[in-house]
């Protein structure tokens, strides 16, 4: 799929602020199933942009506006080509043991900082285990949206899994955090993915849709066969499916905090109003829709 992404963020401060430093993680990554062909960022007020690649391999754009200003607009445009990811391997649980998997899993198998104890997750942990790791992944895709309502405004960016459990509702970020814990407890390495999702249906013919940045996950599934290399498989519990060509990945990390789309600090005691919108436009003719 070919997409055009327009991500516009606008801050308005009720008093002038200074030394506004920001880090953006908004550029679609280039992976085996995705390629970013064009990418532009425009800033108002203007500022020089530095690029660097962070520890997890995500491209970060850094800039700062030193002088006093009362608004900041970040205008991001990208053109990206995606393809269907390969078929997810169906391998038995035993393939999780052994050095090949452990090495590929690295730190994504390690418990996080502030995770709920086993007690809080007990019943979920019991149910969550299925016949194979892949089956577990698919099962979680259903289990979590079944058990928890998708409701914005109940949690916020700093919420923990305990908050989600207590509220019984949350947004994509919370669903993913919970899924990560459950997968890891079963010995499946998993990482948090930030990106864009083209969420329109094929059949109603819309080519362009307003979205938000989206969160899903990638689980490391063991390969089949003797030398089957484990591969990272994307899954989207919010939308009950594995990731496909409508998912445009920006980057990954252990949790949301490792890949926030925008992170910034400014100097001043003003309040800030944020408006953000993402418009994704499919550029292919709707040939694929016609079956």
């Amino acid at each position: 799929m070919n997409y055009d992404i327009h991500y516009l963020t606008s801050y308005r401060y009720d008093a002038p602020v200074a030394d506004n430093l920001n880090a953006l993680r908004v550029r679609p990554a280039t992976t085996s199933s995705q390629r970013c062909d064009e990418f532009h960022v425009r800033l108002d007020p203007e500022a020089r942009i530095h690029r660097h690649v962070d520890y997890f391999g995500t491209e970060v754009l850094e800039f700062g506006v030193a002088r006093l200003h009362d608004h900041l607009t970040i205008d991001v445009r990208a053109r990206v080509v995606t393809s269907e990811p390969p078929e997810a391997p169906e391998a038995p649980w035993e393939h999780l043991d052994g050095d090949t998997y452990a090495e590929a899993a690295g730190e994504f198998l390690l418990p996080g900082e502030a995770e709920p104890g086993d007690a809080a997750l007990a019943d979920l942990l019991d149910i969550a285990r299925a016949r194979t790791p892949l089956a577990t992944l698919r099962w979680l895709n259903e289990l979590i949206p079944d058990r928890f309502a998708y409701r914005p405004g109940v949690t916020y960016v700093g919420s923990t899994i305990d908050d989600l459990l207590a509220a019984g509702a949350g947004v994509c970020q919370d669903f993913v955090h919970l899924a990560l814990v459950l997968l890891r407890r079963h010995g499946i390495a998993a990482r948090y993915v930030s990106g864009y999702l083209f969420s329109a249906d094929d059949d109603d013919g819309t080519d362009s849709v307003e979205v938000q940045t989206h969160a899903w996950l990638e689980a490391l599934l063991p390969g089949t066969g003797g030398r089957g290399e484990p591969i990272w498989v994307g899954a989207d519990p919010t939308n009950r499916r594995l990731a496909g060509e409508t998912h445009v990945k920006i980057g990954h990390g252990r949790t949301y905090a490792d890949v926030p789309p925008i992170k910034g600090v400014f100097r001043g005691s003003a309040g800030a109003e944020l408006e953000a919108s993402v418009r994704m436009t499919r550029l292919d003719p709707t040939a694929s829709a016609r079956a």
Binding site: D19, L21, R48, F56, A66, A257, K263
Partner: protein, 538 residues
Amino acid sequence: MSTLSHLVTDDAAAYRPHPGCYDEVFGPDGAPRAHAVALAAEIARLGPQLLTAAGHRRDAIFVQQGITFDATGEDGPVKDRPFPLDLVPRILPAAEWDHIERGLMQRIRALNRFIDDVYHEREIVRAGIVPWRLVVSRSHFARAAHGVRPPGGVYCHVAGCDLVRDADGSWKVLEDNVRTPSGISYVLENRVAMTRLVPQFFQHHRVRPVDHYPQLLLAGLRSVAPSAEDEATVVVWTPGPMNSAYFEHAFLARQMGVELVEASDLVVRDDVLYMRTTAGLRRVHAVYRRLDDDFVDPLEFRADSLLGVPGLVRAYRAGTVAIANALGTGVADDKAVYHYVPEMIRFYLGEEPVLDNVPTYIMADERQREAALARRGELVFKPTGESGGKGVFIGPTTPAEALDGLADVIRAQPEKWIAQEVVNLSTVPTAMPDGSLAPRHVDLRPFAVFGEQIRIVPGGLTRVALREGSMIVNSSQGGGSKDTWVLEEDAGAGAATHHTQLHDVVPTTMPGLRYGGDWQDQQQQQQQQQRHEGSGPC
């Protein structure tokens, strides 16, 4: 031959070293060791009353000068207590210090290489010596510092490794501190206080001075700064006066003649660090920071840190500012990583360790864990990411139920714990409130500066557990300190007070001193002349 030890106590009972420990002054027969004979005699000569009186003067001076710290007393936190300095110094003969110094230099070099390796090629991981899982699970592993190499490849500009002396007299490393080790200010102030309060103790010894530390630190910071050396602007960055080590931050800034800054004084523009001065923004080339990585930059670490400077990590990455100690050194500060240091020395330096570790067990390893928990009444358990003696459980002195609870905690999060064999720390005679001496357990924290080379201040901070039998030496938990003397050479008792090649020079070109005006003299003269001449009206 216990006459001397008899003199130092008020009653007839002689000073008794604890059995099973090494006393550094008195041997098991009660006679002072060779290097301590002169000191023991001086203390005896001074007597318990004058020793106590000197102690009172010390407290008054420290309170006056603000050499204090905050502690936790029985009823909660206590502020501004005079820093406890025991007036009996601890002596290290030159040969012993040589051994310690060699061992520390080797260790610091190895740790420095480890830190560089862990944030770049990971060779020691690929060689299968240190598991990657261990490294990456350390709470102080700084992903933001990954791939960045500071000038000269130096990360631990200031290192304070804690040493202890076992019952057989051998030195062992208890733990490595390469994040923000503190205590050097007390070392310097203690020495000054000793020369003022008990100068007679110095009589028969040639004690190596320690007051060049601030110069060493400043030179070290300048040598890593990205600018011409004499133009480098260096600052000491403190979290502020509320921090328990604030005295030391201010002290070092003053001694080095550099600004003491807080986060609000600093700003990053275009990846360059500046401080706000009355003459506008002034560029900062090197920062000696006394706060943990977590608080240093809200854009890269804890977002809620008000103590940090946004963009500092960017400037660091861009190489426009040097940070001491470098970001990410905490990965080597960890007690579980400590277990691997002897292997690091072999791997990076190809040498055998000069100083041994205390035998340590990693709780993350199941076999070691179960073996250790089976002996939990005999071992010491420490959380890997803490410092200052916090969270430590000493098996032999902890009730069984508490140890059972601890076992559960450890099994739940084994990555966060280690166990160590108990070391019977050595003892040094310490002044009691009545002026008598009694043995108390000590450890040693020497301070090293790594700039162009590694320089270690002779001695360091000797910490004393003031409570009888206790081995907790941290000042925040009731510990005290001693001045540590490294002698210049293995002189026997009674080294001469005069030095070789005394040179008596009377500069002849100097004008003589005058003592008063000659007004009276002049007036006197005139009168005399008059009388003498005898002429004048009658």
